[in-house]
Each structure stands twice: as structure tokens, then as C-alpha cells.
Amino acid sequence: MSETVSTEQYLNMDLLRFTTAGSVDDGKSTLIGRLLYDSKSIFEDQMNAVEEASRNMGDHTVNLALLTDGLKAEREQGITIDVAYRYFATPKRKFIIADTPGHIQYTRNMVTGASTANLAIILVDARHGVVEQTCRHAFIASLLQIKHLVLCVNKMDLVDYSEEAYNKIKEKFDDFSSKLEIQDIHYIPISALKGDNVVEKSENTPWYNGSTLLYTLENVHIASDYNFVDCRLPVQRVIRPQSDKFHDFRGYAGRVEGGIFKPGDDVLALPSGFTTKIKSIETYDQKLDEAFPPMSVCMTLEDEIDISRGDMIVKPNNQPEIGQDIDMMVCWLNDKKLIPGKKYAFKHTTKEGRCVVKEILYKVNINTLHKIEGETEMGLNEIGRIKIRTTTPLFFDSYKKNRSTGSIILIEEGTNETVGAGMII
């Protein structure tokens, strides 16, 4: 952060959430450490603590991984167990990093980190090129519909900044990623350790005409990552003050998950199917002329109709799909296997209910993208396509169309653990 901070500028910054992936020793922690360090987001006491901890662990150099590996067990074992969130800002943007570990439970952690990310950074070691894990990371990013991907070819210093080595990796990844659905892919040759092309453009790669990593992070176009077309307001809560001043106030609180709502618009409530008009869009500060994702608002309607939590306010001429038989890709997050016939609780938008797994259509080999049919169960970190039937109808869109109305989690009823992450097809 710069020496003086203008509040006006700060209030205009936008937000980029990204996830970082890479296999073991690809230099992910070093890269994050450098981004934090160069943006002055590491404080002296944190650095001192990391230096001291590194010494205590017998490391000769400062282990920047200790900045993100916060848990005792992680430090003892020298591994990252869980997603860690880190924050830094430049005058242009604020960044949230979901740092996902590369060791155990990889898929589960990356899916979690990727579920809220606009962008994914995937690191490859310039010496080893595109490996199995690179493909797995890219597939997960694509499955989770991350719109932007940055492939960082790291450790360029160890291949003498060779353009040929870089191009070979780029071609190979281009080839693989053509099978995926990622719209926007950037390639950057870097050395996280030496700092080449991370914040400053490197003199060691004169053949590279692209942007640095930080410039890319600051400038990638994310304003249209939300769906501004299909109006969706899942109702979280009905607000009824029942006070003298607001005697008849009845507002529907929720976050806009799609489209742009304006007072006077015709709307339809699901599941009742009643139509009415928006009377006002209220917030504590002011009445709004319009509401769009991801604003949390409170809407009042012209007519008093029956709406409660789990219902959805949409437009009469643009309704989501409604149904109890749901076809989805699921990533399994738990040791206890998914078995057809088993019942789970679910959460979808603000709706909760129960469902039964009807069928496993196929599992995906996430290294080769091959479909494996005829499977009777799914285990931890596996991804596949399943059919479920829910106790009540869902109002949903495909995950591709809308990440919020197209995502669902499955919950084991005995332990209450979140066991499945579903993306509706």
C-alpha cells in the first residue's frame, strides 16, 4: 500500500478473489510471499515471527510458507492442511487469495477455494513442464467455472530464461486447455524467487511482451463475471418490524443473485406463481433505483402475497427451471462414500431440504478427463455426474448460467458434515 491512502480512492477499489494452485515445490508459497511482501502486506512482527519459527525448525532460509501455514499441526508436519485466506491491496484493487494446499485432500481444498474465485493462478515448474497435477488443477478451475486462468511458468531462472522452454509448456497447455471451458487464459514466465515478471517486468525475458503477474491481476476484466441478465432474488428472511412507525412494512430480504431489479418492475414469486410489482428497494441508508449482484437488499412489493424463506423473486418472462430431479456434477468431500439410494440433507440458495441419490452416471478421471461408467460409489476427492431427487422443487439455473442458483451442497444427516459440492447441469 502506498504511503498516503486517499479514502476516495480506497472506496473505489474493486475486489478480485483468486485461488492459487500448483503441485508440491512449484513455489506457490514463495509467490504468495512475494506478492504480500512487495505490496507491503507483511508486517514486521509477522516477518519476525516467521524468521524465528524458521530458525526453530532448523531452516537456513526464511520459510515464507509459514506465513500461511498457521496451524500447529501444519507447522509441525511442514504441510498445509487447510485453505488459508490472505489479503493484499494495491491502489487499484483489493485481493483475496484462497491459498489451497497441494498435498492431501487436494481436490476438496481446491474446489472450496475455487468456488468463490474469479481467477485461478496455476503454477508449473519450468523444468518439469505440464504435469498430471497441472491438468487436474485446470480441470477443476474449468469445472468450477472460473472465468480467468493465469498459467505461471515459474523458476524461469533455472532454465536460463529460455524462450523455447516457455513456449513448449505454453503449447502443451494450450493443447490440453482446448478441451476445457476457460474463456480467458494468460501465460506468464516468472521467477517467484528472483521476482522476474511478478511485480516488475524482467530484463531476463526480453522475448516476452506480455504483462507482469501483478499487472494482470490488477487489470483483468471482472465486472461482467456476474449474471446481470436473469433476475433472481432468493428470499433469506421476511422483515416485519411491527413497530408504530413501520406498522405495515413487509420486506423481503436477500442478496440479488442475478439480473437487475428496479422499482415498478413486474415480478413473480416462486413457488406460488403470483405476480406483482416491486414497490421499493430499501436499504438502511436510502431507497435504491436499482439492485444488482451481489447487493444485499430488502424489497417491498405492491401486493401482499405469501412469500417466505426459500422462495424466489424473479421476472414473469424469465423464470428459472423448477424441478425435483436434478442432474449435476458433484465433487465428493468426505471419507464416507456416496452411494446411490442414500439420503442427504441439501442447501441450495436459501432453501434447505432432503434428497436421495438416484444414480451415478459416471465418474471423471481428472487426470485424463475420461469418463468411467458403471461405478457404484464415489469416494473422497472424486468427481462425477449424479442424479438426485429432492423432497421439494428447487428453483435453479445451470451452474454455467449462474454460479449461485446453480450450486448445491449435500450434507450427511448423521454428522451434519458438508460432504458433496454440486454443480447443476
Partner: protein
């Protein structure tokens, strides 16, 4: 583009969404109120989330008895203004009842004792969700926290076995006797909190601003002189121009020398700071994993 929310607006919307989820998913939530800036921001967000209705849950202060006078006055004024219900759970009472034993020596603090008072109060009132102002940027163990953080029937946190948290789908399902800690400010940084206070014009206790105070230097930190700390013979009491960067129990919250008299000054100071705000907290300095250890037991 016109349809683009600034990062602070996104953080506000996220926090409001979380608060509404909690009010709807749980039977009896409570907001843990310390009188510090983060909990003041949470009260502000709660008012926004449920307006024009009142905040649909009480505020609870775990009172060590070692407060800055200004904090208590501020708390009582805020409660009056918002019409919220206030519950005070007293560490002194836990000591009197023999639930905990006071620490001895010049560095004695009631910070760790709060956990027992907090868990007893949660059990007594049968709260099933408690909002905390913790942020992931504060401390390395907190960087691993979920928005909805599960606590077992003993109030313990199991950081190695947390539920994955995907998209905006928050799983608050639990067994009887268990509860959740919920952190709506998870994604905020210290700078975000100050900028938000400035943007929203939120009143904060005047001890956050520069003032004259008697202090004593200990372990590289300035501690406010109060009846609750024992001054060693070798220590010198001095009057200095200071302010609080965080507000907590007087025995372990350091103050910093500062001329910052208005919010804009504080923002510049935070921007230039080279030490984290918890760098001034003796409670975190007791060991490298002090925060994780306390959190496992049920601390905030």
C-alpha cells in the same frame, strides 16, 4: 462499468448476508460485543441487515472488569440508541463462583479466563450461534477460520476437521448442545474496518483517538496504568500522548504513541504501520500458537 460494487460494498453485502443467514438458520443467536471497533462495526452491520426492524438478537459483553471507562459508557449509549438487549457476563462472577482462578504476578491477565465465562454464558442462555468480530488477517490461526465455525458440546474448535465452505452456502446444522461461532468480518482487513468507519461515519470510543495517558513500558509495549496492573519497582510511569489501536482488557492491550486525532489520521497511521494491530496484544505473545490454543478451548 456502472454495475460494479466497490470492494467495501461487497464486503458489507457479504456481512449482511451472513447475519441474515444466522438470524434465519439458528434459534438463538447472540452478538459478542467487546466495545472494540470490530464489534461496533458488527452492530452497525446488524442494524443495516434487519432495518427497519430492530436487531433480532441480544449483544453480550464478556466483562473482565478491567475496562477502559470510556468503553463501558460507549457500550451503554449504543445499547440505548439501538434498543438492543444487552447481556453482561462477568469474569469476576466466574472467579467468585470458583469456576476459574485468577492469575498471579505482574503479568496477570483475565484474558484467558474469559473463555470459561463465555462458554458458561452460552450454555446458560442456550445460545446456538455467537457472532464474533474476528478477521482472518488478524492472526495466523484466524486465517483458517470459517465464516460458520462449528463448536462441539464443550465449545471446542477442531481446526483440522472443519467443514468445507463452498460458494455462499453456509451449513449451520448441528447436534443439540453444540453451537457455532460466526465471523461476518472474516474477509475484512484492519484497513477495511477503518475505511468503513470513516465512510459510514460510525462513532467509536474516544480512546481510539490521541489522548494523554499514564503508561508504563513492558516487553516493548506501552500499557495503560490502571488499578488492574501491578507496576514493578523497576518500571517507570510516564505520561504520553497515545491512542489504542485495539481495545480489550486493560491488562493486555497495548497503547501506541500517536498524534492521530481524527479518523483520517488513523487511516494514514494504519497505512504506514509496520506492525500488525495484534502486535500490541500481550495475550498473543505468550507462545507462537497462543491464539490457536485459546481458540481450541473456546476463545473468541
Amino acid at each position: 462499468m456502472h454495475y460494479n460494487l466497490s470492494h467495501l460494498d461487497q464486503l458489507e453485502s457479504e456481512a449482511i448476508f451472513i447475519m441474515r443467514e444466522v438470524a434465519s438458520q439458528f434459534q438463538k443467536p447472540v452478538l459478542l460485543f467487546s466495545g472494540g471497533k470490530d464489534s461496533i462495526v458488527m452492530v452497525h452491520l446488524a442494524r443495516k441487515a434487519f432495518w427497519p426492524a430492530k436487531i433480532p438478537f441480544p449483544l453480550m459483553h464478556i466483562d473482565t472488569g478491567h475496562n477502559f471507562d470510556e468503553t463501558i459508557k460507549f457500550r451503554d449509549d449504543l445499547v440505548k440508541e439501538t434498543g438492543a438487549e444487552l447481556i453482561v457476563a462477568s469474569v469476576q462472577e466466574s472467579i467468585d463462583k470458583g469456576r476459574v482462578v485468577e492469575e498471579k504476578g505482574p503479568n496477570a491477565s483475565r484474558n484467558a479466563l474469559q473463555t470459561v465465562t463465555l462458554l458458561d454464558a452460552i450454555e446458560e442462555h442456550q445460545f446456538d450461534a455467537a457472532f464474533g468480530g474476528g478477521r482472518r488477517d488478524e492472526e495466523k490461526a484466524r486465517a483458517k477460520e470459517r465464516f460458520f465455525s462449528h463448536r462441539d458440546e464443550f465449545g471446542q474448535w477442531d481446526p483440522k476437521n472443519q467443514r468445507p465452505e463452498l460458494w455462499n452456502l453456509f451449513n449451520g446444522m448441528k447436534q443439540i448442545g453444540e453451537h457455532f461461532r460466526v465471523f461476518p468480518l472474516s474477509n475484512w482487513t484492519e484497513m477495511d474496518v477503518w475505511q468503513y468507519i470513516a465512510k459510514e461515519n460510525i462513532p467509536i470510543p474516544n480512546i481510539y483517538y490521541s489522548h494523554k495517558r499514564k503508561v508504563v513500558e513492558r516487553n516493548g509495549m506501552l500499557l495503560a496504568v490502571s488499578p488492574y496492573i501491578t507496576i514493578k519497582d523497576t518500571e517507570k510511569v510516564e505520561e504520553r500522548i497515545v491512542r489504542c489501536r485495539t481495545v480489550g482488557d486493560m491488562t493486555c492491550t497495548g497503547v501506541v504513541e500517536s498524534p492521530a486525532a481524527v479518523i483520517e489520521d488513523i487511516i494514514q497511521e494504519v497505512a504506514a504501520a509496520r506492525v500488525t494491530e495484534r502486535g500490541g496484544r500481550a495475550d498473543d505473545k505468550r507462545s507462537e500458537t497462543a491464539m490457536e490454543d485459546r481458540k481450541r478451548q473456546g476463545y473468541f
